[in-house]
Amino acid sequence: MISISGLLGQAFAILLALVLAPLLSGWVGQCRAWLQNRTAPPLLLPYYQLQKLFHKDVVLAHGASSLFRAAPFVVFGCMVLACAIIPSLSTDLPLAPAADAIALVGVFGLARVFISLAAMDVGTSFGSLGGRREMLIGFLAEPALLMVIFTLAMIAQSTSVATIVETLAHRELVIYPSLAFAGVAFTFVSFAENARVPVDNPATHLELTMIHEAMILEYSGRYLALLEWAASLKLYAYSCLGLALFFPWGIAPGDDLLALVAAIPLLVLKLAIGGALLAGIETINAKVRIFRAPEFLGTAFMLAVLGLLVRLLLESKV
């Protein structure tokens, strides 16, 4: 049943994602600066950058095809859809049936395919370099993410994200050891998927070391703004997914408006803590050699499989 409050909640969740995502990136940037003993940039810096980019003219490469121009919209759309079906505030999401957890991985994959193709479209060496590195990371990260989701799906007996979260959030307290493995694996995957240290460095100016940044080097103006926004949405989506799966307390069940309102400050608090932790991990780590990234993601995959085995062998009676 689609309720009014459900619709409202859905609309609000999307709106909140669009607003909070750049803020989260700004917050991570601030925390990084503080941890390095630097004066932090303003919290709203990502908004200023988006505003600046939306007002700039677009410079297109001569060889750019329509794919290059369409990709930012596809990527942005994918990220908005991902944010819509991840229960950040409430599990009553009318859009949730649009895609289950496995399809969610597919949505991220679709965005990846488009951005990689667009990077190769203009034919610069850095675009292809970034595109093929992104595919390397992606094809290692996706199976690990799927394994994490399978573990959770087995607990909830459903692959719908909303159902999984509802099951985890509103059951009597049961400890699932498998979740610990899945949680660590998910954290690893999130770092790789969001181009963070130790896999990629979002702050680098060294074009030869870039992964994500190399792919968007040729973009400018509103296209770049969309891609930057999409990147923060992706970070937001992964953060919310992690919080919803592993720290689901406070997410509103069904159509409880009051709980929905109460969920907002809790989400902000959880994101703030998560962002600070992310900045902390980024600060104490150096970037790994790119050929160590498969080891990093292999570890994530192994942990996810362990989680699945623990679920099958130890928790199947639960």
Binding site: R32, Q36, N37, L217, A286, K287, V288, R289
Partner: protein
């Protein structure tokens, strides 16, 4: 006898207090080539090559080659006829000669008879038959004005085979750094070959020296490569003092050493931070930049300039420090030394950083010798080359003769070795600075220097990057007829092409930064 018994070149020591230099004249091209081969056999290295136009002084052109040998430097000149000047190719003996010879051809129009006749510094901004450093090259308002900017074709060496492709990088980069072009031939991420194309920073410095007076030359030489301004200024001062037969007073020499060591520490601090940052360890960058900033601010307080530009002049120094200033400096050495020690522990024990540093960009000792490497890069490959330290048959010039610099080397030759050498050199320089403060002699800080018409000299200084050479020659009016500033980057840039070959593309920025070479200094 200077080097070997069978050379026909007569060597005479250059007067002056600078690094030991012997001057000789090769009567023929064969003698020059024989001497180069003998120098190579004796474990020597090529330090510099440049040319000068002597046609106004009655002969044709002159080629200058400087070889670094155990006892000091051998400065060999060789006269060439005014028509079709050509000399034997030395790049078969010293591979470092290749770019220097090509640059000499571009600038003066005297060519080695080798196969590689590609231009080096000339990028099409002037025609191939116009040589900027010839006295009859038209010096229109704005150097090279009136020429069309011609397209310049450049034959990069092509690498073929299944899956091999090229990645062109630069000269415009994603960050705000100096321009240089790097052509990678790769298979996937693996680097098969790197070829550099430099010269984008060419700004005609050598031309500006011609006809300049001595003091203007001193200011100009300090701006060839700003990060080594003290080394250049001192090398120039040594060259001028050798040419004019004066010696700077002891206090001036001590102050020069003080500035040179401060320059060394400042650059090593900056580079150590940048090395961390290139491995995405931004924490290191922030900490080291803070230390460097403190260091530069004290420079400004003591010498009135953050980089101590124009403070070393022919005849002495243009700045003096009093006892309280020295005390402040010693105190800062203690503070910075303590912090660097902590950061060194952090770098050494950081598994992620060490994983990036160790075995990355290896240059072994044999290759380093073959490439005529100098300075920090050579020492990190296990070569004990430091113009400031005593070694068999070599006494460093004052004040280093009495300071007793302990040599720093590392056998590994990788990025980790260059990081370690930098750390060790910082501690050694901090120790030296304390010793300098204690042993600072009293007396004058400068003597008057009058240019001697027709005289010439060569100065060699162990800068933070390596050996900086400046050769000067005065004309009959006491103006500069020619000055050649030579940056150690000339010899170390080709080493980068070798260092990256066993590694992958994303490791290049780190390897590059571990050398941190000057574009400006080598592009002139």
């Amino acid at each position: 006898m200077f080097l070997c018994d069978d050379t026909a070149i007569e060597f005479t020591p250059q007067p002056g207090a600078g690094a030991p230099v012997w001057r000789g004249h090769a009567p023929s091209g064969d003698e020059l080539k024989d001497f180069a081969a003998a120098a190579h056999l004796a474990g020597g290295r090529l330090a510099a090559i440049w040319g000068s136009d002597e046609r106004q002084r009655g002969s044709g052109f002159r080629l200058h080659c400087v070889f670094g040998l155990d006892r000091g430097h051998a400065w060999v000149s060789f006269d060439l006829p005014a028509d079709e000047p050509s000399y034997p190719d030395l790049s078969g003996i010293f591979s470092a000669a290749n770019r220097m010879q090509r640059a000499t051809r571009d600038m003066v129009g005297i060519a080695a008879d080798g196969d590689d006749q590609r231009p080096w510094l000339r990028h099409g901004a002037w025609p191939a038959d116009w040589y900027p450093l010839r006295h009859d090259a038209v010096h229109a308002a704005g150097m090279g004005a009136g020429f069309d900017n011609l397209p310049s074709d450049y034959d990069f060496v092509q690498v073929g085979g299944e899956g091999a492709h090229e990645i062109p990088v630069g000269p415009i980069h994603a960050g705000i750094i100096e321009p240089g072009h790097f052509r990678f031939s790769v298979i996937g991420e693996r680097v098969l070959r790197l070829e550099q194309r430099l010269g984008y920073q060419h700004k005609g410095v050598e031309k500006l020296f011609i006809g300049a007076d001595m003091a203007h030359g001193a200011r100009l030489v300090g701006r060839v490569s700003g990060d080594s301004t003290c080394a250049y200024a001192w090398a120039y001062a040594d060259a001028v003092e050798a040419a004019c037969g004066v010696a700077a007073p002891p206090r001036a020499l001590m102050l020069r050493a003080l500035m040179l060591e401060r320059e060394r520490v400042a650059n090593h601090l900056g580079d150590l931070g940048a090395l961390g940052n290139d491995a995405a360890f931004a924490f290191g960058l922030t900490q080291f930049m803070r230390l460097k900033e403190d260091w530069l601010r004290l420079n400004h307080k003591l010498f009135g300039h953050r980089f101590m530009m124009d403070r070393i002049t022919p005849g002495g120094v243009a700045a003096d420090v009093d006892a309280p200033a020295l005390a402040a400096m010693v105190e800062q050495c203690g503070v910075i030394g303590g912090e660097v020690k902590k950061l060194r522990t952090l770098y050494d024990e950081h598994a992620g950083l060490q994983d990036r540093f160790v075995t990355t960009g290896v240059i072994d000792a044999a290759l380093a010798r073959e490439l005529s490497l100098t300075g920090m890069a050579a020492r990190a490959s296990g070569l004990l080359l430091d113009g400031r330290t005593h070694r068999q048959g070599y006494t460093p010039p004052p004040p280093y003769a009495t300071l007793g610099v302990r040599p720093v080397t590392d056998e590994r030759g990788d990025v980790a070795a260059r990081v370690a050498v930098r750390f060790d050199e910082i501690s050694e320089s901090l120790r030296l600075l304390r010793e300098i403060a204690v042993g600072m002699p009293s007396g004058d800080t400068r003597v008057a220097v009058a240019p001697v018409a027709g005289a010439s000299g060569l100065g060699v200084i162990e800068g933070w990057r390596g050996e900086v050479l400046v050769g000067v020659q005065f004309d009959k009016d006491g103006k500069l007829a020619r000055a050649h500033p030579h940056d150690p980057s000339w010899q170390i840039w080709p080493a980068l092409e070798h260092a990256v070959m066993k590694d992958i593309v994303p490791d290049f920025p780190l390897i590059n930064k571990s050398f941190n070479l000057s574009y400006s200094g080598a592009d002139l």
